[in-house]
Symmetry: C2
Subunit: 156 residues, 2 copies
DNA sequence: AATGACAATGCAGTATACTGACGAATAACG
DNA sequence: CGTTATTCGTCAGTATACTGCATTGTCATT
């Protein structure tokens, strides 16, 4: 016979949202651990990844590419600018826009850090067998794409 | 040939952490939408669920049951107390502990809100076929259990 | 009984995520 | 050309999540 504690765990554990929240916690913790030498967060690195491929991007485009809220992108860029990883300047073509660019140092860090970031991803999926990892990624991708419109920060 | 934007999307989309973060965003958005009438967040409802099953629980036990950081639990309880959903009192057995209990109103809301919460969970998984939903939950459960120790707020 | 280890909570500080409102610049339209 | 609408960025406010430190209470050992 199940104790009340067992009943509770079953109740929370049966909610996809609860499992998603915990996976998010776990992944962030692993990322920060693997990337401790750089003192950068997953979201900061996501923004840096975007800028490594698309330099001189305005904040809303960065938000769309990385699926981050635009006010949050502004915060993240301010912190990256403070650490001389990014610079921002008003666009001469459209003076409403602030275009962000990686500094040379920022571009170097983005490259150097990639291996540590990848270790975090690999560790995260390590408990699954190879075919399960593929299936898990496929299912997450299907859910993200089908539900894309329901977050405040949809991709693209 | 892929454009730079396509390359980027592939780069971020191939990172499990990025997909997890987006799923988390999406689920929270759906939860808040379905439960808008109650103005309660997923984490607040998780704490209420714990207290519905285990009344008079101290904050660290709540944190362990719901896998929430203990400082965060204190914040959440303070907000729930302000709204008269929860009361807190120092334990007479151990005066270090503050025991939280749902008020009658809080218990009523927990029951009433369950259907809306469940709608959010169902909508979230709706894009998957029935067997895919089962598999997805199974994989999430395996990852959460195997990686439990790596978050600051492990369960139990 | 005093001491020292440990446990529960609190507090300050930071990062992500979002809402709503606002000002400034641009674009669209008549 | 001028009015209107839209877009970009910002600001203030709130919630979650975590780190590190301090405080208080309990307990074990002496």
């Amino acid at each position: 016979m199940a104790s009340t504690i067992d009943e509770l765990k079953s109740k929370l554990g049966d909610r996809p949202g609860h499992l998603i929240r915990r996976l998010h916690q776990i992944h962030v913790a692993m990322f920060l651990e693997e990337c401790a030498a750089y003192s950068l967060t997953p979201v900061q690195y996501a923004v840096m990844t975007v800028l490594a491929i698309q330099p001189k991007l305005d904040q809303i485009s960065i938000a769309n590419e990385a699926a981050i809220d635009r006010t949050n992108v502004a915060d993240v860029l301010a912190r990256l600018e403070e650490r001389c990883i990014v610079t921002r300047q008003v666009s001469s073509a459209d003076r409403r826009m602030k275009l962000a660019v990686l500094t040379n140092e920022g571009a170097r860090i983005t490259r150097d850090m990639e291996a540590a970031m990848q270790r975090a991803q690999d560790r995260f999926l390590a408990p699954l067998a190879a075919d399960q990892r593929v299936e898990f990624m496929r299912l997450m991708d299907a859910l993200v794409n089908a539900n894309n419109a329901f977050s405040r920060a949809p991709a693209r």
